[in-house]
Symmetry: D4
Subunit: 224 residues, 8 copies
């Protein structure tokens, strides 16, 4: 195994070669870190030579700390992401669908991750199966995409319907939207895992980042 470059901050060991090894630069997961720790991680990634350093799950205090350090940092408040440096030029095309308005924050994290990964994205919101004509109306968008990401809470039924309409891969993201028997996203998660249409792959509840990384890998495959 070849040598690995690591930035050791004591509380964190940043993997400076991850982009080279896995195609995805290391991201700073800001939840559970202090604003100072997140800034220090971003700084180390920049010092390690990353053209872009970025963080997810950024709360208001962390966003403020990042902008104090880098006035030209870009904060995406819906996605709760922060970017320091330059976004790569996008290639490929990912379609991101949400079942309802409340799923927007997770879809925004998908879109931010795609942007950070240099992949193009088109997003259409509120395409729930309770009005199945809305799903059929996006069939042309589906046909043009390299891969489709479907974000849905509550009953999580949208990926099953979308996957029956296309030969594209469907990346399904359950969200914690809903109450009672939605069980913080478990209902949607189980629905997606048991989708009666094949071609559906699933990530963790509310994991827009993971869906974005996966979709970017597939989209880059399509254009390479």
């Amino acid at each position: 195994m070849s040598a690995h470059r690591t930035a050791d901050l004591g509380f964190a060991r940043l993997d400076l070669d991850r982009a080279r090894r896995t195609g995805t630069p290391e991201v700073v997961y800001a939840a559970g870190k202090t604003p100072e720790q997140t800034v220090a991680c971003l700084e180390a990634l920049r010092d390690g030579g990353s053209a872009l350093a970025w963080a997810t799950r950024v709360d208001d205090a962390t966003a403020t700390a990042i902008q104090a350090r880098w006035p030209d940092a870009v904060i995406d408040p819906e996605a709760r992401c922060a970017f320091v440096g330059d976004l790569p030029a996008p290639v490929g095309s990912v379609l991101v669908l949400t079942a309802g308005t409340s799923d927007g924050a997770v879809a925004a994290e998908v879109a931010a991750t795609l942007a950070a990964g240099g992949v193009g994205c088109r997003r259409v919101d509120d395409v729930g199966v309770a009005g199945v004509h809305r799903v059929l109306a996006v069939a042309p968008d589906i046909a043009e995409a390299d891969v489709v990401v479907v974000v849905a809470g509550m009953d999580g039924a949208l990926p099953s319907v979308v996957a029956g309409l296309t030969d594209r891969l469907v990346v399904a993201v359950p969200t914690s939207v809903g109450y009672g028997a939605a069980f913080e996203g478990q209902a949607a998660l189980l629905t997606m895992l048991t989708a009666c249409a094949p071609g559906v792959l699933v990530v963790n509840i509310d994991n827009g980042f993971g869906a974005g990384v996966a979709a970017a890998r597939i989209a880059r495959t399509a254009v390479r």
Copy 2:
């Protein structure tokens, strides 16, 4: 409260007035009873004056015992139901949809319960959302029904789509069809409880009998 007529068999107390009080004659739930106990219950209901006595969850041994006692009893092997006496003439119209072939036994129990309750029934199988055009194809059937019963396992997504197409009530029956994260019907149950379209009411997993009783009550309301 007025007097109640009960047939006391020791191991069971049969409610001879239930049809008068609730519109649904008492049924014999044969699971957990010996063939002899089921026959004795049916006999007591007949002796109590019921034009029709019937049982659900009838296994082979019980079916044999019933036909030995009443050679003209009717056994429905798909529904695992047995009927002794005369089925009432049907009124009204209930549409029963299944998402897949494997949901057939539960749909058959719905149909048998409707027949016992004197309500008409039309059944269309294998209308899963993975081919949403199949769902749209039954829209005319839906429009003619008094109420729609939807039977589905795995992702349980069909009721959400159907309820978005109609002003009829949808009675959703989760089934234990599926494996892994289907968790013996829990995935479908949660999907149906959190259906994003209103107008969906839910019964227990595999409870075709309960769905049939409920649908019959609604259908009878529509024609009274």
Copy 3:
């Protein structure tokens, strides 16, 4: 499939034909939306020609924003619902029972939904099975209703008892009232799904809206 009229707000796509198609006008689910988003949705529904636009799960900030926009909007604080426009004249009769005082907010959402749907409602609170004579005392009310909605938390036992007294359909609403093994409404949900009396249909925990829509459909069936 005929053309569909949709109001596209970017973050939401409102289904302007839902009332025509399903009998129930689209409602704005305010949880997970900003006050501004909820007001914009209500505005689009009004602009789309709805005589009544309304929202559920309305918190104080949203209620204030609605009344700032429409001074004659009606806020139901117990039900957390807001109405803009005219309520239809009620037909039919639904009986809403609660097992305890703490179930009141959910029952109020049932009643508000019935009002929005143009169906009459009578409500009796605190009819728990721990004093079964209280249940028997409402037998005359049950006999007069087109359908009975039963709202109960904790042990959720009330629907089983009510369903044994009537030939009306019982729509059961589990609530998150209780602690410990009530598990935020799961105990009541399971009790209702396994009710030993047939004729019980179940909605999601705390889903007064869903119960109201379903009860309205049945009641309208009865009077058509």
Copy 4:
């Protein structure tokens, strides 16, 4: 702490003083033991001076082995219990109610345990809340009992209703009767733990033995 007499069989250490210390003689739990082990345990208890040695969860092979060793042993096939020696004369009075016929085996284990403990028992079966008049009909039996044991599966609602009618303690036994969301007795267990009427205490699912021991202690308290 005083000396303890123990019969050490290698695979089991029998507590010969348990009756003296806790009022309940040690019972042999035959599930998970070979017929030979169960017979050896009963023999050791007899050798240790017990007037009565008995076992629960006795399957057919074990019953045969016991009767081969003690031709006058009494086998209760419904309760799956075996008794070697003399049952004590009964004192006090426990009422055992079941919600349905299928709960009979557990109720029989309650009754067998009461008999082994020298306490009187009266049993009434199939008193489900779906016919609440059947519950009201046993009110006189309840009034005469020292304590009431209620055995119920499915929705497990019976203890809530019974406890509202009496100042006697209610010992509730959930059973694994039911399917789907009954979850092998979990639904009934949760219902009983969250019973809205006070005065209900709960044992493990299908634990007729535990309910019997507890009821016997209370009944003996009443007569001492």
Copy 5:
């Protein structure tokens, strides 16, 4: 069934005959009620002739409202209970044990319920099985009690050990004390339900009131 006296407050129907019928006066469960509702309930109970009216789960605002209405009301802050009127003179003797200091609030609710029910109580805290000699040290207290209530969180192992030492009934109360795999009291609940020693009966998690009512019934049985 004889006539029932009920105080109908609209939001609540108070059962004025419950003490006569079940031996336990109705208590006001203040959680989920406004301070005004709780005061109104207490007032109705007093007006209905109760010598003592009391409430559980009383928060600070409710306690203040009660004392504003009845300056001589007694507030038990550890138990979060409030008493208006006279406590009955105690008879009998219940021993209340806690496994740890953090279980104190639940034990205090047990003791308050016993006081309201006219039963004597002795309480010993912090008798965990991690120092089993502490359990053995209370053996004399156990021997003198009519019934033992054991309150324990975390592993919930104390009732198993206590029940092995006595012929008294053990009422086990799991508490939500603990973290991680304690799962808000579920671990202790399951431990108590599966206690290897017979003679253990279980109430809901943190349900000191229910344990107190049950223990009072048993203790009153012992002295009648």
Copy 6:
């Protein structure tokens, strides 16, 4: 929406255009179908013009029935799949890894699905993380693959390690291998959903078919 060709067998409605619409021909899921039903479905697909008709979850009786009807059908006993007709020539390259020997049946279903879908496959078994050098040893295979499918039961840790070594997408398949806290595959499922390395997408427990369909779509993307 264009016309859809469907073969209606009464108990099943086969989607003859699925291959055209989604790239994956409809497969017959033989679990829950009689041997006769499976044969009839395969026949209808052949009659509908499919060059290859195939079935999964084929038990011995069904395999016998298939070979009786088509003597040149190919049965894959490890994968429990049956093929009637010609397998397409493979393109692309998918690497299938298993964590242990017992995961072999699921991996075989992945491989069979890839073969049916016309995609090349290389399989390496028993690469568990308990010997991490075995994982490192397959790094060259990973580098040559278009996508990696990882099949693992018990702790399900293998996808996390593999995803950290590559820029290829990892399709993770939890299996029901293991006992106790493996909970029939739930432990592995949760591990994979929460994998600390991005680039992992998950299918249902034991769902080799779903993983194969998804991997085929990605591999075909790579070569188009």
Copy 7:
């Protein structure tokens, strides 16, 4: 990382250096393997130079196949283990306690694993906390042990009591013994994880092998 010797059987890759690397020779887990596969694995380990090759979870067919191949193989039927070759001479001392007779098979697997690992073992059965004097009676055995393994099902309370008596580490093994709320060992597992006494470490349900490996490592530490 140094070179690794592996025996590649296709369906399995045996780690011939595991004993050198981790102190524990690779064991063949026979569940999920055919008798032929288990024999082949044992053969490969022997060929790889292991003085002892052994297998766990050996059923009757596998035991027969092993003895057919190696007539002097030793089968331990209680532990379901098979040994081919020579057991090492034991050092150190591990005490294995069981709470009940039914826990014997798991305790036997602990003992077999210790024997294979060259560590001495003393076993005492049926030391349940329902007779706490039985626990106190083994205090001298505990004092002499290097480490204590406690095997318990049902309430799983024994490790809490034992850990309070000693400064030795307690390795706790929950078993699937019990019914109802024992939930196949989950109740015991949670009890042990939340044990109120420190010094308790836990393995998977019924995992006697894992407990034996861990105890052997600690015991070897004590004597090195």
Copy 8:
């Protein structure tokens, strides 16, 4: 059994002989206690002769109260522990690894417990399996340790990998780090319980104290 010295504070009974009996002095678990109660407990332990009195789960208010009483008390804010008196000189060597930065607080509690128990500790953070070279890089540290403690949230996969590299015992601590299907640490807990490498023992979620006590016992064994 010999006499036991106990400090009885009413709300707590402190076990002054625990260090003598179990090697670990009693610690004050401050969660669920008031600052005054925690100070009183520490005081009683000091008065009882402990050279060191200490507390875990110390919040800010409690830390302030402790320092007000003992100005030279040492507060470890990351571990949330407080020490009054002298730490013993360390012997032995425990390696503490964390999978990610967010696991730091739990690792700090492990380290504090080791310090209180007189055992040496080395800690390396952020050694996640997503960069498996980081794990291999600590192999020399692992080789020098008496025992390894691995702290990990999310997928909890690190202990499986570490245990495959060493003959040391691995004490695994799942943490509540993660979201969605991490289920507050349950995913990591199940992963560790089902680790495919033997030699892994598990404590409760976030239980750094328990892991520290266990590791200290093993380390002291190694040096005695």
